[in-house]
């Protein structure tokens, strides 16, 4: 299998704004060069203030998401409180490292709001957490999106600007990557609400 991370395709991107965060993903699910479906969800709401985006092998996206849902539900039941985004970010890293010698073929991005402060973390497939930057990308179209992000991004944007910037970056990146695209979905999380918008990309 040449590139198990490229088998199903897909791209994700996360950005920090002023007291808000945004995540975006494409909608394609394919098998190498063949597209199976164009409504594949890759961003999941783990908690009211935490979003988890996953790109990589479809089966491991399902499995890893289910694992994280289980962890956070058990945490809520046992500790009778919500999990903080920084805690969840650490949880993802350790859950990935638990499978160090048989990893999940996913590259997650975690984004959340902790007391209004935006949190963004990305990982490789074995749990190396990186939470230093203001935007992160993942997936087959990642490198293309990096370029667009670098050009459009500025710190401390408000939710409307952030939605525009992340949408444009995703669309530009996915239009160039053969394995990503077929539409995009943008999630913007503020203290008050989560807005979800569906975008059009080049339909190929």
């Amino acid at each position: 299998m040449s590139g198990i991370f490229e088998y199903n395709g897909g791209s994700i991107v996360g950005m920090k704004g002023k007291n808000c965060i945004a995540m975006a993903c494409d909608r394609r699910f394919g098998q190498q060069m063949s597209t199976i479906t164009t409504n594949y969800q890759k961003v999941f709401k783990i908690q009211d203030n935490i979003l988890l985006a996953l790109s990589g092998l479809n089966t491991d996206i399902h499995t890893f998401y289910a694992l994280m849902e289980k962890e956070i539900n058990l945490y809520n039941l046992k500790e009778n409180r919500k999990m903080k985004p920084t805690t969840f970010a650490n949880l993802v890293a350790s859950a990935l490292y638990e499978r160090r010698f048989g990893p999940f073929f996913v590259t997650p991005i975690v984004a959340g709001l902790e007391n209004g402060k935006p949190i963004l973390a990305t990982y490789d497939s074995i749990g190396c957490k990186s939470d230093l930057d203001d935007f992160q990308v993942g997936g087959t179209g990642g490198n293309y999106i990096y370029g667009a992000c670098e050009a459009f991004f500025k710190p401390d944007m408000n939710p409307e600007e952030l939605e525009e910037v992340i949408g444009q970056s995703l669309v530009s990146g996915c239009d160039r990557d053969a394995l990503s695209g077929w539409g995009g979905v943008v999630y913007v999380l503020t203290e008050q609400k989560l807005t979800v918008k569906i975008l059009k990309t080049k339909q190929t």
Partner: protein, 194 residues
Amino acid sequence: MDSIFGLQGGDFVIVACDGSIAHSILKIKETEDKILKLDDHKIFGISGEGADRNSFGELVHKNHSLIRYKTGAYMNLKETAHFVRSMYAQAIRSRDGPHQCNGLLGGVDSDGTPSLYWLDYLGSLQKITRGAQGYANYFLLGLLDNQYKPNLTKEEGIEIIKKCIKELQTRFLIAQNKFIVKIVTKQGIEAFTL
């Protein structure tokens, strides 16, 4: 070499499969039913080597029944699809390796909602309205995309399946003469050969 393809309509789901079993250049059988009946309202079309197809099919069928007997509740389509997915996903990192078969799971829930799910041997899962497994993908996806519209009637669905069969018979290198088609509606499962 198996062709499994299916379609979801307004109130029904169709899954069709070719009937042939082959060993190298020899066609052993033309009327093999590769669509498993999980219960009165669920069917699971499986494509893959005979042994893997049969053994995984039995595994799914028996575990599905076991859950019903243990919990007393019927699983709906979404639950069944996730259950079958988890069987695939557990196997990929197990000692014996993945179950070498792909599938299309379709059916109608007790409230009449139809659904069709695409599952592959790694445990990928997607809810679809039309799709295929194996080589049939290359020949039929375009045709299914073109002919599909929301809320199809059963007759329109069968017409589309007939067109798909004609397409495979015209263009696919491996001659596939007989196809087994199963339709699930709220009333139950109908099966026929085309």
